[in-house]
Amino acid sequence: MTASPYRASAPALAAAPLAFIAVFALWPLGNISSRALSWDSFTRIAANPAVREMLWFSTWQALASTLLTFLAAFPVTYILARYRFAGKRALLALVTLPFVLPTVVVGAAFLALLPNSWHRSVAAIILAHTYFNIAVVARVVGRRLEQISPKTGEAAATLGASPMTVLRTVTLPLLRTATASASAVIFLLCFTSYGVIRVLGGPARATIEVAIYSRAVQLGDISGAAILSLLQLLVLGLAMLWWIKTSRATAPTEHIEVALRRPQTLRQKTFVYGVATTTAVIVALPLAMVFVRSLGAGRNLSAWRGVLLGKSVVNSGARSPLSAFATSLQFALATALIAGIIGVSAAAAIAYGGRTAAKLEVLTMLPLTISAVTLGLGMLVTFDSGIYDLRSRWVMMPIAHSLVALPIVVRTMLPVLRSVPAGLREAAATLGATPIYMWRTIDRPLLARAWATSLALAAAVSLGEFGASSFLTRRTSATLPTEIARLLGRPGDAVQTQAYVLAALLIIFIGAALLSVDSLRRDRPVT
């Protein structure tokens, strides 16, 4: 394929994201490692047989979760990509909701729905991972599937291929890149999963991430925690390298508009609405439980009234329970801005640049491979004095959130950036347009919508973030997830109910943000 006319701008575009990741992820990691590492703890960790077991468990549960997620998500991905039906946008938003919500909100409700014998089991962990990550498949693979015209499959069918053969020989090979991309993300998230392992797996199951936390915080062994963190980085780095190799196949370049159809035959209708309803019910059940619990033992709205009127059951300074809400929203807006700008810059560098720039895509995932504990503690010891005394500043929290939101912004913008028709640019070039003019009149209008989508997704991620940022000291009031976690840790019915009210508010607000995300997508012509 011909080089993009904007190729010269790629290095400049890559500068900001590279600097952001280097300063806010690599530098803290380096700092805490150099400060804490010692040969002594290295030998101790290397000799500990439990570490090998944890590594093995982390890997295989992540693999199993990834596999199950794909299997469970494929039906709903298929109907979302191929059909147009009532409630489609709501379904997509609903499926994305668990991905963005923190485990502290959904974990207890999910646990309550499982039969007792499944509590504290590996099955519960894998099920929960599947539940949380369906959205990744639905969005990433679904988007690619949308671009594959059903006519290709129909052509194969006229030659005698059965639907399964079509799937196997036509559709799945075309989905290979998207599948690899989605599976890399899901594997990464499941490997570094913390809340799910602790709440659903119980104390007997430990992954490396859980061990890092307990070493650093419970045992005070920062050195051991740093070593485990580097080990995790190494393993995940190898996994990412594998991913780069397999995704070397060229990504689609043409923006393909495939008309979505309504289900017409009875068989199609049963299939589409059946899958949609089943998925919606399964996803909504734990969320519904949160709402039910927010009504308290008396099944009334008194707790809601209290929260909305600003009265807290538990003292939290002179602030109303809603101030956590306001704080979260402020951080969300800031994150959307930071991640939006840095993310679009990175995506543009990747799309317009050559092979070297493509490596940037993996680099944006780097912050996710560093343990939240290590990152949080690293930030604490790095940004602690003078001109870069950021740890006490308000902006530190959105920066931490942006590190997590960055890959999502990149992944949202990238396909759109790549799919601007080259023919349009070539036509403009023959008419004498400069690259800047080309970008302003062709690319920018097409990107505006996608950028708004990624801003909303970044905001949603920020609202639910509960990892590295929970290690940052909170100078203003707490964010909503930390406030919910704090309340859940105290005895008393009224306190628990208030926590669930805040959790329900979080669900409502993130849900609204997600609905707006998908309403910004262009409407397709219907056949």
């Binding site: 602790r198 104390p203 002179a318 602690d384 005394d389 000291t473 840790g489 005895p491 628990q496």
Partner: protein, 371 residues
């Protein structure tokens, strides 16, 4: 296209409204996001003569609003409370930032974490002028006054009164009785690896049965069907039958102050606590506050430590944080004395002993109980 532009505009307006509403709800933070000048941190002062101290605390620090107004009125020093996670995280962060702390005074290091903090040289010693009024048993282990005790609490087995009444069983009184067959499959404990009350319960068994005897005790507990869960929240609010979760287990590890909390936060209201404490199973927890080494306002920090141990502040503790004050002149509220008991001889261990053996003990515990 027009439609989408309108939607975008609506979203932007909504976002702006929300942002402004947030500032209205919490006026204190209105200037914080935009104006770094008003950011409180130990290095700068907001006015030329008003000092603002930063009090770092764990998430369970929930005093009454305005509790520091009297302090500010008397000394002219403002206090800004900053929350930093649970006690373990707080101490880990303090140890990492020793000498260049995030705040001036730290509240919430407890006796299980004290040695870690002292080893990392986190504090500047100070002998508070209220020392003579403090409960002497809380002063053990800190001969050089590196930290000052501020409250005590007990981690005990709580039991569901209704369960035992309906089956006409006597509830367990001691740790040993928990291994008895009549309490089979009734006990739920949080893991000491991940929970502070869980750790306290484990240390109680070490204190009771000795460094060589606790292993057998836990083997018996395991044979008697003890359920180990990840944290206090799951144990108390999900698995315990006497609280909001209405679970299957009638015995749980919690605090001596949990029964009063059950009454005060009951919904619908109750007059009798649904739970009670097994007094011989209690482990004493002491919480301390200390001046962080490297603070720029040591003189003011000393005043704050004095205030934290004064009767005015200590009286507020029971009903807001559900702990017992260390100041012997402080008054305990009726709800506390009515609905709970203070164990006479709780179990305890020296902070040094805990620090030296904790990792080895927990590794062994994992092998015995979780494998």
């Amino acid at each position: 296209m027009k439609n989408n532009r309108k939607k975008l505009l609506a979203l932007a307006v909504l976002g702006a409204l929300v942002f402004m509403a947030g500032c209205a709800v919490d006026p204190k933070s209105a200037s914080a996001p935009t104006d770094p000048q008003t950011e409180t941190d130990p290095q700068t002062e907001t006015d030329s003569d008003v000092v603002t101290l930063t009090l770092l605390a764990h998430e369970s620090f929930t005093p009454s609003p305005g509790i520091f107004d009297a302090f500010t009125a008397a000394t002219g020093v403002k206090v800004n409370i900053v929350l930093g996670g649970d006690a373990g995280e707080l101490v880990t962060k303090a140890a990492l930032t020793s000498g260049n702390p995030e705040g001036d005074v730290l509240w919430g290091v407890d006796n299980t974490l004290l040695s870690r903090a002292l080893e990392a040289d986190v504090f500047t010693p100070y002998e508070t002028k209220n020392l003579a009024l403090l409960d002497p048993s809380s002063l053990l282990g800190i001969p050089a006054n590196e930290v000052t005790p501020v409250d005590t609490g007990d981690v005990c087995i709580n039991y569901d009164i209704a369960y035992f009444k309906s089956r006409k069983l006597t509830p367990p009184l001691s740790l040993k009785s928990l291994t008895s067959g009549q309490y089979r499959n009734q006990l739920v404990v949080p893991s000491p690896l991940s929970s502070s009350p869980g750790l306290a319960f484990f240390l109680a068994t070490v204190a009771e049965f000795g460094a060589d005897g606790w292993q057998d005790y836990w083997k018996q507990l395991r044979a008697n069907g003890v359920l180990v869960v990840d944290g206090w929240t799951e144990a108390y609010t999900v698995e315990f039958s006497g609280s909001s979760g209405k679970g299957d287990r009638s015995l749980v590890v919690s605090y001596a102050s949990s029964p009063p909390a059950e009454v005060l936060f009951a919904d619908p209201p109750v007059t009798q606590p649904p739970t009670a404490v097994a007094s011989q199973t209690c482990f004493r927890q002491v919480e301390y506050a200390g001046i962080l080494r490297g603070t720029k306002h040591e003189a003011e920090a000393r005043l704050l430590i004095d205030y934290l141990t004064s009767v005015a502040f200590q009286n507020d503790l029971p009903l807001t944080q559900f702990v017992y004050p260390v100041n012997t002149s402080a008054v305990l509220p009726d709800a506390f004395t009515k609905y709970s008991l203070r164990p006479e001889n709780p179990l305890s261990l020296e902070p040094q002993v805990i620090a030296q053996n904790r990792t080895a003990w927990l590794d062994e515990w994992t092998r015995i109980v979780l494998n």
